[in-house]
Subunit: 202 residues, 4 copies
């Protein structure tokens, strides 16, 4: 029964992502999400409080899974620079693999700042914290610069990734997103890595 719950919950959430991406939040109908999830309309309300909660849950649950995935993957890479590269690649890959999710994250969730501000602070903050941890580690290890606020580096990294994905979504998701990972990593690392002292030598 537990498993069944989880499975139905997941089906509804995934159906919601597809319908929100296809129709936009307001044009999406609960009945259409229910039909696509192959449950009754009322069942949606056994798993989610209301339509808004469905949107927020998409954000929080997908973020939680994503963050957990990034943490796991990063464990295998001790070096902060590689951990950052890993994070960047996973960020891009996650959206490239699920363009509907990308549409919902980059467009629907931003529509009215209310969602981000009122409800979804925690999941976003956890992601920002994860980025912050990598930056902090890089500083401790001496590979990242320490001469500017750590929050700035965190914002730079997240902001760049976010803008790249938004541009990709708004441009019709035609180009290759993951292919840009290396360039972005290179660009970002040039900005935040400590200048190689060996280059300064005589």
């Amino acid at each position: 029964m537990r498993r069944k719950d989880t499975e139905k919950h997941r089906r509804i959430l995934d159906a919601a992502v597809r319908v929100f991406a296809r129709k936009g939040f307001f044009r999406a109908r609960i009945s259409e999400i229910a039909r696509e999830a192959e449950v009754a309309d009322g069942t949606v309300y056994l798993y989610f409080k209301n339509k808004d909660d469905l949107l927020i849950s998409i954000f929080e649950e997908k973020m939680r899974d994503f963050i957990a995935g990034v943490r796991t993957a990063m464990k295998e890479r001790p070096d902060a620079r590689f951990r950052l590269l890993c994070l960047i690649e996973r960020h891009l890959a996650a959206f490239q693999a699920d363009p509907d999710l990308a549409a919902v994250f980059q467009v629907e969730l931003r529509r009215s700042g209310r969602f981000m501000k009122d409800y979804s602070k925690d999941a976003l903050k956890e992601y920002l914290d994860l980025i912050g941890e990598v930056v902090e580690q890089g500083r401790r290890e001496g590979s990242f610069r320490g001469d500017f606020p750590a929050g700035l580096a965190r914002g730079l990294i997240f902001g760049t990734l976010d803008e790249v994905v938004s541009a990709w979504v708004l441009s019709g998701r035609r180009s290759d997103l993951t292919g840009q990972g290396e360039y972005i990593a290179d660009l970002l690392l040039r900005g935040i890595r400590r200048e190689d002292p060996s280059r300064e030598g005589p």
Copy 2:
């Protein structure tokens, strides 16, 4: 009477921009737009066919004014490179000056591709044509490269500007948009200008 018509039309359109930006298209209520324009609900329908038409009209009328402004300003600058710089600066300045308009253009109008595809082709095409004219001029004058499709240059210029503005809107419209004009112009010109032959000399 003519002036009054125009003035009320303008008041409703501007109120719609504000309300659409604040609430999003779907959360916006005709009654709120009417109240903000200080007219009766029914008056909105004397000037616009329906709620959708209000959104489309914002696009078309603002675009028309913007394009007319760019054309006028460009007349004073004979050189294609300066004309391009002028266009870039005006594009950024227009949105910076009216952040609500930016929100409507970059987010609301994209929601369902239908608007752009079904209704607002003409106004957008006219802008793309204007950009195309500048490219064409630059090629005739010999200052722009001619070794790739003209449409590509046009798309590069519009796409870059559009992405920059979208990123600015989605990031909360905090940064300075016009300040980026020179960099963008520099970047774009590096891509499309003809290599200076004098630098290749002995």
Copy 3:
């Protein structure tokens, strides 16, 4: 100015008959009536209190003209039987000559008994009285039977005519209405005329 008033009043009333016949009372728009009468919307309200009043006025004014016409025509025919024939023929001819008016009288005015009951009693009563006068005259002259209530004869005559016209309207106004006058007159007269005593003689 008096003439102008009258002329505009008439134009609006005639336009209303046409539009009511074409669209039905509820689908008819004041703006359409005004356009068809070539006056401004507001002008309609200088001559009629409101939309209902327009319908009632059609009934009352057309009835008044019709009754006046019947009275004039009847004066030339001293005999009650010929007067009745005259009335019948004019009743049918009036509607045949103006099918739009027929549609309004037989359908729109009946829709909700309210009009007939609340507003238009007088004009209708005057017509019933006119019929009653003819019946009364026939009785005095000895040509009509006197052995049943006068009101019954009046009702028989009006009811028959009304039913014939209604059937004609509802059937699409295709057949010839006036052509039925003689048969109707014959039918009615057989019912109400005094049996010819000469036939009873030995």
Copy 4:
């Protein structure tokens, strides 16, 4: 659950008949129909597409029931002449038993020919076909004349019944409708029956 569906559907339809008869189609409010059917406003739209569909459904469903009833009753009467009498009596009785239905059929449904022409052709045609079948049978049996188009007899029968009911409705539904059945049957049969050959004998 099936029974409940059917029962609510029926309640709404019957309430609509009453309210349409009382107020006319345009003055009738969905909210009033809902209240009279003891359901919520929205429930009306679970069973009927819109207000127009409600009117059309009244026609089609009542016609279907009526036609089925006539067919059943006619089975017990093998003779075409008695079958026609049966049809006439049921036609009149159906409306006499439900004067509200009569008002809707004879007045509301005719208002704008659109309903009859665009939507309700099938149900009406089925009734005309039923009448046609009786005429055809009478001809085969030799009791009805065969020297004029069959469609004419069908039109005569339906037209007469329709006019009689319309007249009854428009005159306030005061008189006895069913009582006229025999006269109407007699009248119609005199017109379409084959002259009795025995009367012609020597």
